[in-house]
């Protein structure tokens, strides 16, 4: 039995109405399989972020259809979308968005505590493990605001991994990192897709990074550039 794509879209169209009405996504149909490591590239303003937010279930103002893990997402209520995000999707942004008043450990634990699938002890253990993968175990009990930018981004990635999500999405997650940290992050994504069969979808401007991934999707003027 051929496995169904983890992420699938059917002719997604989105308009922005401000300042003038314009079509930012023009009929996007893509399918991404389980364990694939995909880079989303394209010129600035081509609609990469906009597409990513639609795929993330956070933006519901579009036409067309979105399916995640075989389930139709389009048309679902806010609360069930929140639950799907909590369980199945991990996010990394260009900025870390850690809660500054909490320790790194607690920051990583928060999505799992929200999900409530494991006991507090188990969650704590898992959080330590994720931090260890990212080489941040020593900093676990420090306040997140006391770390360097590269360290904060690694904690943010650990947080995205805590619920073992089906899909990890990133909007230029290495945009603020030096090449050494960028390599660390790439290796982790590579490992997650190969060993854990987690799906990675990352918007990037870094050509090397994109070339090393399994597949590149290039966007142009709100559509997919079929050149590749």
């Amino acid at each position: 039995m051929p496995s169904e794509p983890v992420l699938q879209t059917d002719k997604i169209i989105k308009y922005f109405h401000e300042p003038v009405k314009f079509k930012v996504l023009d009929g996007i149909s893509i399918a991404i399989n389980r364990g694939e490591f995909v880079s989303l590239v394209g010129k600035s303003g081509s609609g990469k972020s906009t597409l990513l937010y639609v795929l993330s279930t956070m933006d519901t103002d579009y036409e067309g259809r979105l399916k995640i893990d075989g389930e139709t997402i389009t048309g679902q209520k806010q609360n069930s979308l929140a639950t799907i995000r909590n369980e199945k999707i991990g996010f990394v942004f260009q900025f870390h968005y850690l809660l500054p008043e909490f320790t790194c450990l607690k920051n990583v634990m928060i999505p799992a505590l929200r999900l409530g699938k494991y006991s507090y002890r188990e969650i704590e253990e898992k959080a330590y493990h994720k931090l260890e993968i990212l080489g941040m175990k020593e900093q676990a009990l420090k306040l997140s605001s006391k770390l360097s930018g590269g360290q904060q981004q690694r904690v943010a990635i650990a947080r995205a991994l805590i619920n073992d999500p089906l899909i990890i999405m990133g909007d230029e997650p290495t945009g603020n990192l030096d090449s050494k940290n960028t390599d660390i992050v790439f290796d982790i994504f590579r490992q997650l897709s190969q060993e854990e069969k987690q799906t990675i979808l990352v918007v990037t401007h870094d050509n090397d990074f994109a070339q090393k991934s399994d597949r590149i999707i290039e966007m142009k003027d709100g559509g997919i550039n079929m050149r590749l």
Partner: protein, 412 residues
């Protein structure tokens, strides 16, 4: 499906409270002052109310049954149409008496709402002091009246016992005795409006600490009062009735009036202006203290609004990670509740101290110590209002936070 009872929303709001210690404390103190003033003012107001009601009941029964003077009516019904009837209205003589008072007392005693019944005869008199005369009034006394108005507690010399054992005894107010230069055992002479004079023996003195009463009033036995009015032993001017729930006096009085055919005046109607000013004061106090409580609510509203503005990115990321609108509402309402509860706890302590201090203030006269009440229901009411205001002050900004669109924030 939840495997742990760990409440992440509580953890987040507690962390916010702790990391904003100073602001939390300031907002809490606002609530403290609001709650303390509310409880304190209402306790004062109820204390003063209760005192003034109690002093009404020193002289007034809950319901007074009497026969009103009747004005003679025209013999022909004047419907104001054709015939002009010349009438000359007068007070009908002998109409101000209750016929067969014993039967009436018996009837009243059988009512379930009745606590005690006491017939009373009162008369205006002149006390003879040398060549001059002092005007005043006498009121008949018996065991029920003693109990109803707690007269025994005002006796400062002599005793009620002596009064019961001395047919021509009199207990004048201390002011009356002083003006007459009368001591215990002395005889004093009083004359009524019916021109009956009696020599009575002082068997006691009373003091209510209310000068107007102490300078004019005396208690005598019922037969003496009847004789002074040149009336027989079945004469009664008023029947005083105390009922089990004096707040229901108005409706019970209406019922008694219907039942007996006589006028029945409740204490609320009899003391209309006093009761009205009590009500007005209570309303004023409530309005002022409630406004202060509202201001405290604004303190909470403010701090939450500020927190939410500051933490808009954090709210967005929490929503991105799967927190629902209701989780966000819980986080911030709970933050408000923590602030409010700290404030309310301190407010209860502060108001208790204030009430204690005021209750030790000596006013003097017939008031004594400041009449302030220390009552659970007032505290409960203050805390209930505090809680409602806290929840509203938390909910309004929290709902705004719950509606944050994470896309708009995170893609900046």
């Amino acid at each position: 499906m939840k495997r742990n009872n760990y409440n992440i929303n509580s953890y987040i709001s507690t962390t916010y409270v702790i990391s904003q210690r100073r602001l939390t404390l300031i907002a809490s103190l606002g609530v403290t002052i609001g709650i303390a003033i509310y409880i304190f003012m209402i306790s004062l107001s109820s204390g003063v109310d209760r005192f003034s009601t109690a002093s009404i009941f020193k002289n007034t029964s809950h319901i007074k049954i009497y026969k009103n003077e009747k004005i003679s009516a025209p013999l022909i019904d004047n419907d104001g149409k054709n015939i002009g009837v010349i009438i000359n209205p007068r007070i009908v003589p002998e109409s101000d008496r209750i016929v067969n008072p014993l039967q009436l007392i018996d009837l009243l005693n059988r009512q379930t709402s009745v606590q005690s019944v006491s017939p009373q005869v009162s008369a205006n008199v002149f006390y003879a002091a040398g060549k001059s005369q002092i005007s005043g009034h006498i009121v008949s006394i018996n065991e029920e009246a003693d109990r109803m108005f707690n007269i025994g507690s005002t006796i400062v010399e002599g005793s009620m016992e002596d009064m019961h054992n001395t047919a021509n005894g009199i207990i004048p107010g201390v002011g009356v005795a002083e003006k007459l230069n009368a001591r215990l055992g002395d005889n004093i002479s009083i004359t009524s409006s019916r021109n009956v004079t009696k020599i009575l023996k002082v068997v006691g003195l009373f003091s209510t600490k209310n000068q107007g009463t102490d300078d004019t009033k005396s208690y005598v036995n019922m037969p003496v009062a009847q004789q002074l009015l040149a009336e027989g032993p079945d004469y009664v001017s008023v029947i005083n009735v105390n009922i089990t729930d004096y707040d229901k006096a108005v409706s019970v009085a209406r019922h008694f009036s219907f039942l007996t055919g006589y006028d029945a005046e409740d204490w609320i109607t009899a003391n209309e202006s006093t009761v009205a000013s009590e009500d007005m004061r209570a309303l004023l106090f409530s309005a002022i203290s409630f406004s202060i409580l509202l201001v405290a609510g604004f303190g909470i509203y403010n701090i939450l609004n500020m927190t939410i503005k500051q933490k808009i990115d954090e709210i967005a990321i929490l929503k991105a990670m799967g927190f629902q609108g209701k989780d966000v509402i819980r986080i911030f309402v709970q933050q408000g509740l923590i602030i409010g509860l700290i404030g309310m706890l301190l407010g209860v302590i502060l108001s208790s101290i204030l009430i204690f201090l005021v209750s030790k203030v000596y006013i003097g006269g017939d008031i004594g110590f400041f009449p302030v009440v220390f009552e659970f229901s007032i505290f409960a009411e203050g805390l209930l209002f505090g809680l409602i205001i806290t929840i509203c002050a938390g909910y309004i900004p929290a709902r705004k936070a719950a509606n944050v669109d994470p896309v708009a924030i995170l893609r900046k």
